[in-house]
Symmetry: C2
Amino acid sequence: MTEPIQNNPLYPIVNPKSIAFFGASNRFTAMGTNQLRSLKLLGFEGTIYPIHPQEDPVLDLKAYQDVMDLPEVPDLAVIALPTSMVPETLEKCGRKGIRRAIITSGGFKEKGGQGIDLEKKLIGIAEQYGIRFLGPNCIGVANPYHHFNVTFLPFTGKSGFIGFASQSGSFITQMFDYLAEFGLGFSTGISVGNEANIDLVDCMEYLAACPHTKVIGLYIEAIRRGRAFIETARRIVGHKPIVAYYAGGSEAGKRAGLSHTGALAGPDRLYEGVFKQSGIIRANAMTELFDICWVLGSCPQARGNRTAILTHSGGPGANAADACNRLGLELIDFSKETIEKIAPFVPHTGSLNNPVDLTFNKNPLAYFDAIPKALMADPKADILLIYLMLPDQPLRRAFGQMGVPEDQIQDQINQYIDELVKSVMKLPETHEKPVIGFSFRSQTDKLVRVLQSKGFPVFPSPERAAKAMAALVQYRYLCERAAKGATP
Amino acid sequence: MTEPIQNNPLYPIVNPKSIAFFGASNRFTAMGTNQLRSLKLLGFEGTIYPIHPQEDPVLDLKAYQDVMDLPEVPDLAVIALPTSMVPETLEKCGRKGIRRAIITSGGFKEKGGQGIDLEKKLIGIAEQYGIRFLGPNCIGVANPYHHFNVTFLPFTGKSGFIGFASQSGSFITQMFDYLAEFGLGFSTGISVGNEANIDLVDCMEYLAACPHTKVIGLYIEAIRRGRAFIETARRIVGHKPIVAYYAGGSEAGKRAGLSHTGALAGPDRLYEGVFKQSGIIRANAMTELFDICWVLGSCPQARGNRTAILTHSGGPGANAADACNRLGLELIDFSKETIEKIAPFVPHTGSLNNPVDLTFNKNPLAYFDAIPKALMADPKADILLIYLMLPDQPLRRAFGQMGVPEDQIQDQINQYIDELVKSVMKLPETHEKPVIGFSFRSQTDKLVRVLQSKGFPVFPSPERAAKAMAALVQYRYLCERAAKGATP
């Protein structure tokens, strides 16, 4: 862990300064062309050398007929050529002195038959020249901090704190927008493909050292080096959490994985054991994986599972209480002091028990400030879950009634919401306890949008919030066990 | 069930032609004022008589000092007055001849003590005058088809096919936008509050008869008339499905419900039994409830649980297979004929097994038309789950490369997507089998938006799709058992 990240074999693959690019042309349907376009679109600042036997320039870049003609030895080769051409190309790269490659071409082990032999050839060449390579049958890497995206889809999301290594490339490219809709993003997304040379274990090592990565996510169809996987994860999880989704847990998932990446998945119980031994938090869905990454990357550690819920609507409060309880989060009884502090803000129709229910949010300032402060100050409370719903129209109406001219109302609302958001954002800092929001709304709702854009987790249902909170608690216990030197 | 809906006691409460309105004034912070504003905003076409001792007009409507002064006997009284004034007001309504009321005021049984006596008083008055009333402590009714919304929040959603009766008013008003974001809406939402006179059972009867309602949803904190509940549900479910979420299933949910509506919830197992006996489909979350309503209201019946999955990305396909399998949906092996039909469209990197995986969607027309048609024609396939992801930028690029001028590309994309959507929409009709989509995107994605707006279910994760599909299958079995005269 103390190794500088620059020494990690993946460093030049994720942060290259110069690239030899094979398979891009001016033919727009070619996969490689799309990858090169993605790379240019994100504003890559290094040098790109397209290699093409006939075309020059390629996408307005000076191209070279042969990798041997390049004026320097690039950090990285990206190879998106037809399957049969890949081995000789990798060999040429080796002769040129290139020591890192991303091979996105498919048709290898995952196709069986001759593909298996071709993949073995790649492995042999890499050994011979000391090349480390990603793939084949992957979609590459997206590292927004380095303006580096060689996947065939443009990077449309945000940069963020989730370091993600995936046995499915789609879960990188097709999640850019998904994550952005919650204000989230990848620090780096690495598609490992067939893992002929670099595998999930290597990626964990890299992401553990990556300063932009606060939490590591893994999409798994099969683990290839079990022992190394467990040992590496155990070294990491004490200081950086790892969350994994295993798609081969069911018969059908297993079969799908086999035809996808040629992965031979094991029984679910075996994987359950591997995750437990590794100290990895297991997610049961991809959306759940990113939810858990969200809280682990944005909240202070939970001291325990004792939960306070704040709501201004009975149904969502009961729903949240039910969801928390089912996941083993304990709903505490507040201390007398706490109840005395919040009583003045809770109307007679409301409830001072947990969930604290205002029944009608007449005073958003108290709801977003005084009450949650009092709840967080209660020594028994470890986590606060707060229902966040501030419909636009009543607010608009209220400002109108206060005499605010029509054309200034939107500004006033924006300012008001910014104030509320500031209060909420201060809570986890002040009390060093996780505060998590839920709403049934998306970013079309102003309050949700502003909070999420500032990195505050607001989940689209109490169940998703509760699942993520339970994972926060689980991570706390993992760290405690790790600190004692036990299996995390 | 053969009774005309006009004879149902709830009919004038949900479809009034004239209303006596108590508790609205020109003071904008009053709850009743906001309810009246909501009513006016939705363009209610009947007559509204605000009753106010001093003010006239109220919100530009001619007001009356006393209900006795009204020129006619209105269908309905809406009462949003301070608790202590409610009984005498209801009595006056009775004397005037009004036979239906919505009482939104709180402070009754749910507060205990004197509130319990006040609620008993209401019950007595109603008996004396033959009044049927909704509430107290409810937020009223939203019936968009009648332009009728007396909740305190404006109706911002769409009209739809979900008939919803709820022991939480928030799950009506605060779900308007939530549902609209999936292209869904309520046919009618009824907040039952303390159920002093009208309860969930009455609402089920009404919604069963309501022609706009294709599926009934229930939010439950406690069932008050167990026997009647079971018997009524059993009569309904054979021709209209019922889906329920029970918030009192956990200790914490139970306590929250108690302080919310004074409901005394029972043990989870008891409720599980009630739902089973009733033929009601149980949801484990509110979002899940609406998901299940979505498929039940928009898909043909499933003939069984045998599922085909179509994807153009391995990870989402494996994830979907895993999710389906965990919920007991069987992934079939396709017939030889089916495989022969689809083979020409699947590239060599893809998979002809289930999930059918194109690995790269070069030919959306085949993906949205020829392939799903072939899969649905397979006699072994009962349900099709299809991954729907058509990123904008590659499409834009493709049209550009075909020589379409920049300013016409958006039009071309729109037309193209409309064509694809037409193909998808035809599938369930042609084959009389459910076809369900999933994507990780929301309505910010054009394909998702168009499909959802046309009523086609596209779920935001494979797990949510699979849960809804499992409920479709469950409903089929319920209907089969009901047809045999057995407990559904």
